[in-house]
């Protein structure tokens, strides 16, 4: 899942970036509103974590413009203003959730998970596809009751494919949602990661649920 963190305080942006990346998300950072808007226009983000106190733009204005984009990312507002009127106003401007500083990082992670869950239509934190189970909180994957050891990227690719079960997902789409802005769009990294993921799934002699649709991309579906 691809996240954009908009925060003007570098001392806060860095640990947010670090912590969210560690949690398996592809994270981009923006220190101001202009850069944030430019990035959100170019890239399809799944979620924007937005600090309202920006130097160059009103945070709520940015929130309004980001949620008006065709890609309509989820928006989680971070702010130091804790008045009820502030919260109501923020949510009315299109924000999906609201977190008051200082917040506990695990709470931020939980809210990010909850917001991303709204997109894939599951209620809990476990995604299921036939005999394949993916636990978003514990970062564990079970394949025919056997734990599967995946790298962070493999996990993220699988997570994205599981939220789009049955659909063909192109390499570009995977690159956009699973890799951050530092990924080179011309590398073979998507192909390589999907390849190792498929090998790991095939190791137990079960039919693989991950298939390649030649010329179009990849598809995950319940193995028959």
């Amino acid at each position: 899942m691809r996240l954009l963190v908009v925060e003007d305080e570098p001392d806060l942006l860095h640990p947010l970036h670090f912590g969210l990346s560690n949690a398996g998300y592809a994270v981009d950072g923006a220190p101001n509103g202009t850069e944030a808007l430019a990035k959100a226009t170019q890239t399809t983000y799944d979620l924007v974590v937005l600090d309202l106190g920006l130097p160059d733009m009103d945070g709520l204005e940015l929130c309004r413009r980001v949620t008006a984009l065709q890609t309509r990312p989820r928006v989680l507002i971070l702010t130091a203003r804790d008045g009820i009127a502030d919260r109501v106003h923020g949510l009315d401007q299109g924000a999906d959730d609201y977190l008051v500083k200082p917040f506990a990082f695990p709470e931020l992670l939980a809210r990010v998970r909850a917001l991303l869950r709204r997109d894939n239509g599951t209620a809990g934190s476990v995604l299921v596809c036939g005999a394949l189970e993916l636990d978003l909180v514990r970062h564990e994957v079970w394949w025919h009751q056997q734990p599967l050891s995946l790298t962070r990227k493999e996990f993220a690719v699988l997570e994205y494919l599981m939220t789009r079960q049955g659909a063909v997902v192109s390499a570009e789409e995977l690159l956009e949602h699973v890799w951050d802005e530092n990924a080179d769009p011309f590398t073979q990294t998507v192909r390589v990661t999907v390849g190792t993921l498929r090998r790991k799934l095939a190791a137990g002699n079960h039919p693989t649920p991950l298939e390649t649709v030649v010329g179009r991309g990849y598809r995950l579906r319940e193995a028959s």
Binding site: L12, P15, G19, N22, G53, F103, F105
Partner: protein
């Protein structure tokens, strides 16, 4: 008896009752004296004794035959005696009527006094009602009596006091809001770095040491912020005792304190003092204010420039000034009003702020105002700024404001 008095009902304790009672009693005394005087004068000037000597007489008819036929037996007295007796009776009834009249007068005056006292005390009731509303938390209520009398003056004083309280309360709440907002950012920095980096076992060493440095900086920033906030809260508290302070001496000492820092930053500190400018103020507070002004100038002045401090009196007016002139970047006209606001910073957020929270100049303003003075900024972009702190040298209230111009020349272009 005393117990009975102490347990009298509430209405008997009221000022209204006591006023009515007092006026009626005084009226009763006066009326009794007048009526008693009249009575005594009348009684003294007329004969008034009951008939003491009476005679028996027989009324009858003298017959032609010379005999006397008695008809009845009557009692007779002398005319003077009878007059006196009539007078005595008149006086007795006068006495009786006077007593009734006085009793009636007392009751009437009690009733009239009761009503009049209510009327006179109505403003007091209004004031009490307002006070009750204020106590319930509505500091915006005012008595607003608009009367030209003593109660009007009282109400005006109370309204002025409420306005002041309201102002202090609002600014205090604003301060708490601002302060909590300011504190949340470093708190969020600390919390996030601890949660997302430091609490994890598998973090690379350079990330860990970076997070430690960031937390360290955030704690420093919070410490300074809290210190500034406490100073600001103290400076906003009203001064009770204001001993005399020698402004010239304080400024001289403060400038010396900054010498080392100025040398480090290659600044030239110039001082120009009128000697023994003495005024009523709290020495520590004045010291802090001068310190803030100097710190501000030294922080913003470019290397190799001059920071000039002067102390003087306004000619012919009870005002003393401290002026600090720098050759810094100057402050844009649209920002000049806001520099004295709490938490206002000239540098945009996100830049290196060497930990200053933007409270220094707001403290200067608050102290100046608490001492009945004011602080002014004369600034021009690219030329420099002059901060002038005006303090009154007398304790009189309602002084004419100090001259509006800067008492020192701005730096040459």
């Amino acid at each position: 008896m005393r117990q009975l008095w102490a347990r009298r009902p509430a209405w008997m304790r009221s000022i209204r009752f006591r006023l009515a009672m007092l006026s009626s009693t005084v009226l009763l005394f006066i009326a009794t004296a007048v009526v008693g005087g009249i009575y005594l004068a009348v009684a003294h000037n007329v004969q008034n004794e009951p008939v003491t000597e009476t005679f028996q007489a027989i009324e009858g008819i003298d017959r032609t035959d010379g005999t006397f036929k008695p008809l009845r037996r009557i009692e007779v007295a002398e005319v003077a005696d009878i007059e006196a007796a009539v007078n005595a009776e008149t006086l007795a009834s006068l006495r009786a009527y006077s007593v009734y009249a006085l009793a009636g007068l007392f009751v009437t005056s009690l009733a009239v006094g009761w009503l009049l006292a209510a009327r006179a005390l109505r403003p007091v009731r209004d004031i009490a009602a307002t006070a009750k509303d204020v106590q319930a938390g509505d500091l915006s209520r005012r008595v607003a009596l608009h009367r030209d009398d003593e109660l009007g003056t009282l109400a005006e004083s109370i309204d002025a006091m409420l306005a002041h309280l309201d102002e202090v309360f609002t600014s205090q709440r604003q301060f708490v809001d601002d302060a909590s907002h300011e504190l949340r950012t470093p708190l969020a920095v600390i919390r996030t770095n601890v949660d997302a980096v430091l609490a994890r076992p598998d973090v690379p060493e350079h990330e860990r040491s970076r997070a430690v440095a960031v937390v360290d900086r955030a704690v420093d920033r919070m410490t300074r912020l809290v210190e500034d906030m406490l100073a600001a809260a103290r400076s906003a508290a009203p001064m009770r005792v204001q001993p005399a302070v020698n402004l010239s001496a304080v400024v001289h000492e403060e400038v010396e304190e900054f010498t080392t820092l100025a040398v480090e930053r290659e600044l030239e500190l110039v001082v120009e003092l009128d000697h023994d400018v003495v005024l009523p103020a709290d020495p520590d507070t004045v010291r802090r204010v001068v310190d803030n002004l100097l710190a501000n100038a030294v922080r913003l002045a470019p290397r190799g420039s001059v920071v000039a401090t002067s102390v003087g009196r306004s000619p012919g007016a009870p005002w003393a000034f401290v002026a600090v002139r720098d050759e810094g970047p100057g402050i844009a006209p649209e920002d000049q009003r806001r520099v004295f606001d709490r938490f206002w910073r000239s540098d945009p957020p996100g830049t290196e702020q060497d930990g200053h929270a933007g409270l220094g100049l707001s403290i200067v303003r608050e102290v100046a105002e608490a001492h009945g003075g004011l602080v002014r900024l004369h600034s021009q972009l690219g030329v420099g700024s002059v901060f002038v702190l005006w303090l009154p040298t007398s304790r009189e209230r309602g002084l004419a404001p100090p001259p509006s111009g800067s008492p020192v020349a701005r730096a040459a272009v």
